[in-house]
């Protein structure tokens, strides 16, 4: 019989594992402990818990970082253009101050009369040009706006500028940028107002070349993509701009006047593109310096920062999840293992409790039956004694002659009847003795024996049963088996029970295969593993009716029997106990209508001198 089909394997798996557990050889297969889902759920929960407990603080830290650094990072970005504006504004301011102080010293040193001389003025212009870059021309105006002296490319001498816009401007301000009628391009004009000895104001004015002003707008080290603009406070461009149009164009937005801490402005340029503008007001002049940048570039630092935060969150999240899962997995495995052990211990305890209470009951029953059985036995024995005495011709007291006559015949009926009673008593005795054995807890004795010989001995005892069934017994016994050290009587009984079951299970002309071999032991199989330990394996296969899946789970339970009426249900239970006492275990595989295989495993034990025969 070979149960090879998948269905067979599945059908026998549970009882096998059950037995494994009973034997103390826990199976690592979690399916046996049905609640695989429970453990998965537990693992998931623990993973989630650990993940959350690590992630929540991390999330807090990240959020803290996010909000803590959002405004500084953004501010530093914006203030970046503000700082730039501040720096360039200082350059401009210095540039204008230098030139103004040049004009001031000119006015202070030479006076109105001397400077009204155009020739002298031309000399001064030459010196100024050498000293300071950017001077286009030089002129002196009296309080009415008449150009009293002029040196430069235009012929402005003696012209009246009293009505011109720029004169009105310079009479109030030190600088201005104007589109003068005499010049092809707008000029940047500086002027110094001085009071003459007569108490009348006069002006020294100079025009600055727009190109020179423009060079200041692109100092070295300026960000590419950043544009520097100069406007007056009304938002009129004083330098040309790519984004906001030509010089003197009006800016499309307003500055908040006198704002202490000017923040960046976000607006749209004339091309419709979004821009960010940082600005800085001049201290001495009515100008504002603007730095213009497109917002895309500005946001990089912050978006980089947030991306980094997100990356850290994701990477650590992944790592934490992985570790939590692994840790929870390991933990669950341990818990599961412990549960399995507990389950096993509990079942073993339950089993042994069951056995011991049944054992006590059995011993009581056996005792109660043995006494009357002993009386019957003796009574029948006495009857036989009397018959035998009478047939010997011995004088029998109290027995009538007629009976004596009947019993003299060797095949007399009474003699046969007593024989049958004795047989019945012997049968009863075998049952009560088995019950008594079942209840006994003696430690098995040990002797060395040949396992194959032991099997043959047991089979000889059962010979008549094999003959009756015309059964064929095949042997596949290993020749080189070492001696087995065990209790001979107990092992005989164990083997007898299994063979007896096999004989009763097989049909007429059925087959039984007995095989023995020595196997290397797997770790954890023996309760007390010894160095170089091996295990004897006895396989007893029959091609009988097989055992159903439900019954397979119970066959080792005491009093479980399928042979209603004539089985005690103790045979396999006793066998199981015997094999366990010898430190071994039993496995059973069965398939209905195909047959059953019992495998007995017995540990190979080292021989101590005491147990040697």
């Amino acid at each position: 019989m070979d149960s090879t089909g998948i269905t067979v394997q599945e059908s026998i798996r549970k009882p096998l594992k059950f037995l494994d557990r009973l034997n103390g050889f826990s199976s690592a297969d979690p399916a046996v402990f049905s609640d695989r889902k429970k453990y998965l759920r537990l693992q998931r929960n623990i993973t989630l818990l650990m993940f959350c407990s690590a992630m929540i603080p991390l999330l807090f830290v990240e959020l803290l970082f996010y909000f803590q650094y959002e405004s500084p990072v953004r501010h530093s970005e914006h203030s970046g253009i503000g700082v730039e504006a501040e720096r360039i504004r200082q350059d401009y301011e210095l540039f204008l101050q230098e030139r103004l102080s040049g004009l001031r010293s000119l006015a202070a040193f030479y006076g109105f009369e001397q400077l009204s001389d155009s020739g002298f003025l031309a000399e001064r212009l030459q010196i100024l040009k050498e000293e300071f870059k950017g001077f286009e021309d030089l002129g002196v105006l009296d309080h009415r706006g008449l150009m009293r002296g002029y040196a430069g490319p235009y012929s402005l001498e003696d012209r009246d500028f009293s009505n011109s816009k720029w004169f009105q401007k310079i009479s109030r301000e030190q600088t201005c940028c104007v589109r003068a009628s005499h010049a092809a391009q707008p000029l940047f004009i500086l002027s110094v107002r001085t009071i003459s000895a007569k108490g009348q104001p006069w002006f020294v004015r100079a025009a600055i070349l727009p190109e020179v002003m423009a060079t200041l707008a692109s100092p070295p080290g300026l960000d590419t993509g950043m544009e520097v603009l100069l406007t007056n406070r009304s938002g009129i461009l004083q330098t040309p701009s790519i984004r906001f149009g030509p010089i003197l164009n009006k800016l499309p937005f307003h500055f908040e006047n006198k704002s202490e801490k000017p923040g960046p402005i976000e607006t749209v340029d004339i091309h419709g593109e979004k821009v960010q503008i940082g600005y800085s007001r001049f201290r001495e002049f009515d100008y504002v310096l603007l730095t213009v940048r497109s917002p895309l570039e500005e946001k990089t630092a912050w978006s980089l920062f947030s991306k980094e935060l997100l990356l850290i969150l994701l990477v650590s999240g992944g790592l934490i999840y992985f570790l939590s899962n692994r840790l929870a997995g390991a933990m669950i495995q341990r818990i599961q293992h412990a549960d399995e052990k507990k389950d096993l211990a509990f079942r073993e305890l339950e089993h042994s409790h069951k056995l011991s209470s049944i054992g006590r009951l059995a011993a009581g029953v056996a005792h109660e039956i043995n006494n009357p059985l002993a009386i019957i036995n003796q009574k029948v024995g006495l009857i036989r004694d009397l018959i035998e005495c009478s047939s010997d011709g011995t004088e029998l007291k109290g027995i009538s002659e007629s009976i004596t006559d009947i019993t003299r015949s060797p095949d007399c009926k009474i003699y046969r009847l007593t024989d049958e009673i004795v047989n019945a008593v012997v049968r009863c005795r075998s049952i009560t003795h088995r019950l008594l054995y079942f209840s006994s807890r003696m430690e098995p004795s040990k002797e060395a024996m040949d396992l194959n010989e032991l099997i043959r001995e047991v089979l000889r005892v059962l010979n008549h049963a094999f003959l009756e069934r015309q059964a064929k017994v095949d042997f596949d016994l290993a020749d080189d088996l070492p001696l087995l050290h065990a209790d001979r009587g107990l092992l005989q009984q164990a083997l007898f029970n299994i063979f007896n079951n096999a004989v009763e299970a097989i049909p007429v002309k059925g087959k039984i295969l007995v095989s023995t071999r020595l196997e290397a032991v797997r770790t954890g199989e023996l309760k007390q593993p010894e160095a170089g330990a091996g295990v004897f394996v006895v396989n007893i296969e029959d091609n009988g009716e097989g055992i159903s899946k439900e019954n397979l789970e119970q066959i080792f339970e005491p009093f479980f029997t399928t042979r209603m009426g004539y089985g005690t249900g103790l045979g396999l239970s006793i066998t199981y106990g015997i094999i366990q006492k010898q430190g071994g275990w039993i496995q059973v595989e069965s398939e209905l209508r195909k047959g059953t295989r019992f495998s007995i495993f017995l540990p190979l034990q080292t021989v101590s001198s005491k147990t040697l025969p």
Binding site: G364, E368, N370, N371, N377, H433, S440, R441, M442
Partner: protein, 121 residues
């Protein structure tokens, strides 16, 4: 074996009367006692060669009786013959000096063999 004196101690009167009758048929002197006290008195009066006794009896139980016999008459052999007989009882009995331990029902021939062996030794 003939002339061997055996004392049967058991509270099952039916059992000991039948057994004694069978022993007598085989030429063995068999006396009877149904409890420990009367057994001790009988042993005192007429010491047998062998005492065959049960373990569970009213009054003094088998093992106690065995102890007392061992203390008083060391030359009396005791065979335990019980309906229960756990291995613990068996071992304790043998420890207290019982020559054998049998479980009921027992074949008369087995009993005779033991008696014979004991008698010869």
């Amino acid at each position: 074996m003939k002339g061997l004196k055996v004392l049967l101690v058991d509270d099952e009167i039916e059992f000991i009367t039948t057994l004694s009758e069978r022993l007598v048929l085989r030429g063995i002197h068999a006396a009877m006692a149904t409890d420990g006290e009367s057994a001790l008195r009988r042993i005192e009066k007429d010491p047998p060669n062998v005492v065959i006794m049960d373990l569970l009896m009213p009054g003094i139980n088998g093992l106690e009786l065995l102890k007392q016999i061992g203390a008083r008459n060391s030359d009396v052999s005791v065979i335990l013959l019980s309906g229960r007989g756990t291995e613990e009882d068996c071992q304790e009995g043998k420890l207290l000096g019982a020559v054998d331990f049998l479980i009921k029902p027992v074949d008369i021939n087995d009993l005779l063999n033991i008696l014979k062996k004991n008698h010869e030794s």
